[in-house]
């Protein structure tokens, strides 16, 4: 921004500017000072060095208009070594330097720009993408207003333990900021806003500093427990020529091997588990790679134990006979040993809590039940935001990455369970299989309730959807409201078939995170589906434009219950409790009058759409046509008017 030139045209323009600037400066130099202050100020004028106004207001000696390299080019060189495929952005002048370098110097590949009409969309896309792809996407925004928009989505990613590689633009040196937007868009510590929910951040002061921090940031983001990281990029550093490229060095990236649990502790846990009558595994943000699910299946089968999947990731096949997710209270109630793997809210999983005037809770496990934890949660927490949940006392806490540690547990279970023990385990497995089957039968029978109703039940919706995708290579990338029917009715048995939730329960996650995940699925030729809440879509409808623009194949099925329905229920409960009016809970919670026509909205963004569908008989054909569009490589949306849950 402040490089020099000897172009004569620049010099003559500058001459004009110079007199104008000096005139202004002269006026500023003689302010009207109240009389009472004058003598005091005269005295201090002698001791305090006066600003060299002439030097500050002089035009630069040289004022170049072209340059052959920029710091942004070097930043792109660094990013290319990190193998980052995409950078989701909402364009902003504070990163115009690196933006230009990405598209021209970097040829818009690795990273390729994804244009997002909101910073929250950019972050959430990165969150959804990373969970499918197993490595981060970058996102970039203004350091002040952009990061303020991005912050809720960053909180989701933080709670969800997902790496997002954030870069923001800032103008560090005050005298380099133009009046107006550049001042209001600059901060001395822009990352302060989100420091409670990013794992690491830096504001590099030189290009070499950038190279080292960029590689460090990636390494930190990818070390379990994973989380977002942030680099604040000074505009001068991005835009100005590189003083000496030859002196700059890009460090080599070596990611950290995830830690496996201590073998002695693992042996102790296995002893408890093999001896137990009713061991139970509860699991949440466990599967980190495509190997995770198979490892858990092998472990559960070796032990023939119940598995309760809290579905933070695609941990365990839905129709596996040992899957007891929908019998959680029963299996936890009978457990004598509980192994909690990568659980965030263990307390909430094994205790019941009453949402009543006097709030109360109690364990749902028996006294004496041994509780063992395995995960990286204990290794890293922060204080302010309370996403860590209530403290649960346990018998053995093993620090270690679940996926990295599980093979050792499985081996030891196999070794420790002798023939007689094994036959007992087989008997237990058969009993669990029967109970799993009974739960499935119950789900199918319950799904018939309200089968032909309009608004359409979520069970019917999911049954119709399953019929259209079950023979495809599918991936359920979003289910904002976490309706349980997919897990109750569908056969999930591939590591990419479910992508977890928001993490921080921040609304506006589902639509963009699903698009990000669908982008990751695209290269594998998978059909991505998102069950999309209407309330969530209202936050970030621009996601649809991004999906159309970047040809992201995804089917959004709008679960349009025309309300922020969870809140509607809470308000209804409040109204009943207070007993002074129980017919007003729709006020402030529903999205009616006018009803939103999401198909029309979607078409406006260039996305194929059908709906609103109110008759369940129309649903199957509409979904079939939409799936055909997605198979052609484009996004599609079907707006389904649904019953609440």
């Amino acid at each position: 921004m402040s490089t020099k030139s000897s172009d004569p045209r620049v010099a003559s323009r500058r001459h004009f500017l110079k007199s104008a600037t000096l005139t202004g400066a002269a006026a500023l130099a003689s302010p009207v000072v109240p009389v009472a202050q004058q003598s005091q100020e005269k005295a201090s004028a002698r001791s305090v060095p006066q600003p060299n106004l002439a030097a500050e207001t002089q035009p630069p000696a040289a004022d170049p208009v072209n340059q052959t390299s920029s710091g942004g080019d070097f930043m792109v060189d660094v990013l290319k070594t990190l193998d980052i495929d995409y950078i989701a952005i909402n364009c902003a002048s504070s990163f115009r330097g690196i933006h230009e370098a990405i598209i021209n110097y970097g040829q818009n590949v690795k990273p390729e720009i994804l244009t997002c009409p909101h910073e929250e969309i950019a972050v959430s896309m990165a969150q959804g993408y990373a969970k499918i792809e197993g490595r981060p996407m970058a996102m970039m925004c203004h350091g002040v207003v952009g990061l303020q928009h991005a912050s809720m989505a960053l909180y989701n990613a933080w709670c969800d333990r997902v790496p997002v590689y954030v870069m923001i633009g800032n103008i560090v040196e005050a005298d380099k900021r133009a009046p107006g937007a550049e001042w209001v868009h600059s901060a001395i510590d822009p990352a302060a806003l989100v420091r409670d929910f990013v794992k690491w951040d830096d504001q590099p002061a030189s290009l070499q500093h950038f190279a080292e921090s960029a590689v460090r940031a990636y390494k930190i983001a990818m070390t379990p427990p994973m989380a977002p990281v942030l680099l604040s990029l000074d505009a001068e550093l991005q835009e100005n020529p590189i003083p000496d490229r030859g002196r700059l060095r890009i460090p080599r990236l070596t990611t950290v091997t995830p830690p496996a649990g201590d073998p002695v502790a693992i042996a102790e846990a296995v002893k408890l588990l093999v001896a137990a009558e009713n061991p139970v595994v509860v699991v949440d943000r466990y599967a980190r790679t495509s190997a995770g699910m198979a490892r858990l299946v092998e472990f559960a089968e070796a032990l023939q134990c119940a598995v309760v999947d809290q579905a933070g990731r695609m941990n365990f096949p839905s129709r596996h006979p040992l899957n007891q997710t929908f019998r959680r209270a029963a299996v936890v109630g009978q457990a004598d040993v509980i192994l909690a793997i990568e659980m965030n809210d263990l307390w909430g999983t094994i205790n019941s809590f009453a949402d009543r005037i006097v709030r109360s809770s109690r364990p749902i496990f028996k006294p004496g039940t041994k509780i063992v934890t395995l995960g990286t949660r204990d290794l890293y927490l922060k204080a302010n935001y309370q996403d860590f949940g209530r403290f649960q006392d346990v018998d053995l806490a093993i620090a270690g990455d679940g996926e990295a540690s599980l093979p050792a547990l499985t081996d030891q279970v196999k070794r420790l369970a002798d023939a007689s023990r094994r036959s007992a385990l087989e008997t237990r497995g058969k009993r669990l299989a029967d109970l799993h089957q009974a739960t499935r039968e119950q789900a199918r029978a319950e799904a018939t309730l309200g089968w032909d109703s309009s608004p359409i039940t979520t069970a019917r919706l999911c049954a119709e959807l399953w019929a259209q995708i079950k023979d495809e290579d599918w991936s359920l990338v979003g289910n904002g409201i976490r309706i349980l029917w997919p897990q109750r009715l569908w056969k999930f048995d591939k590591p990419y078939q479910w992508n977890g939730g928001a993490g921080g329960a921040g609304i506006g996650y589902n639509a963009p995170a699903s698009a990000g995940a669908a982008l990751a699925n695209k290269r594998h030729g998978r059909i991505s589906i998102a069950i999309q809440g209407d309330g969530d879509l209202m936050f970030v409808p621009g996601t649809l434009w991004t999906a159309a623009h970047h040809r992201i194949p995804i089917l959004y099925v709008v679960h349009n219950n025309r309300a922020y329905h969870q809140e509607y229920m809470y308000l209804q409960a409040m109204a009943a409790r207070h007993g002074r009016g129980i017919t007003n809970a729709h006020i402030g919670t529903t999205l009616t009058d006018p009803n939103v026509d999401y198909a029309a909205v979607s078409k406006g963004f260039g996305v194929y759409a059908e709906g609103p569908i109110t008759d369940p008989k129309d649903l199957g054909p509409a979904l079939k046509r939409a799936v055909a569009v997605v198979k052609r490589g484009e996004p599609a949306l079907v707006d389904v008017v649904t019953d609440p849950r």
Binding site: A447, L449, G450, R577, I582, D643
Partner: protein, 123 residues
């Protein structure tokens, strides 16, 4: 856990009371059912239990009410006292008549049907 205990209690209530149906004339029953449906929607039972009484989820899964087999006393007691996270509806805002109509409506709904009859539920 509590729901286990409650089912036990309700089971006993059922045994003691025997048949739980009040005899209505056909037309009065239809009126009550229509009124019950209106009230069920307007006082927000549907928000948690679904318009078809199919159940739903609130802080945890909410039971289905379609064709409820709960005897009238047990049904009323649940609505008036609100076990666990079910809100209690006092008589000051939900009259006995409205509550009876809601129950009539729920009793009129089809209950669970054999999933075998639904091709989409056999895939």
């Amino acid at each position: 856990m509590t729901s286990f205990n409650r089912s036990l209690v309700l089971g006993l209530v059922l045994l003691v009371l025997g048949a739980d149906e009040v005899a209505w004339s056909q037309s009065a029953q239809a009126d009550d059912t229509a009124s019950g449906k209106r009230v069920y929607i307007s006082v927000g039972c549907f928000t948690c239990h679904g318009r078809s009484g199919q159940g739903g989820s609130f802080n945890y899964p909410v039971p289905a009410l379609a064709r409820t087999a709960l005897p009238v006393e047990a049904f009323n007691a649940i609505v008036r006292t609100g076990p666990n996270d079910m809100p209690a509806y006092p008589a000051s805002v939900l009259s006995d008549k409205d509550l009876a109509d809601i129950r009539a409506f729920l009793r009129s709904l089809p209950g669970r049907r054999p999933a075998e009859d639904f091709p989409l539920l056999n895939q």
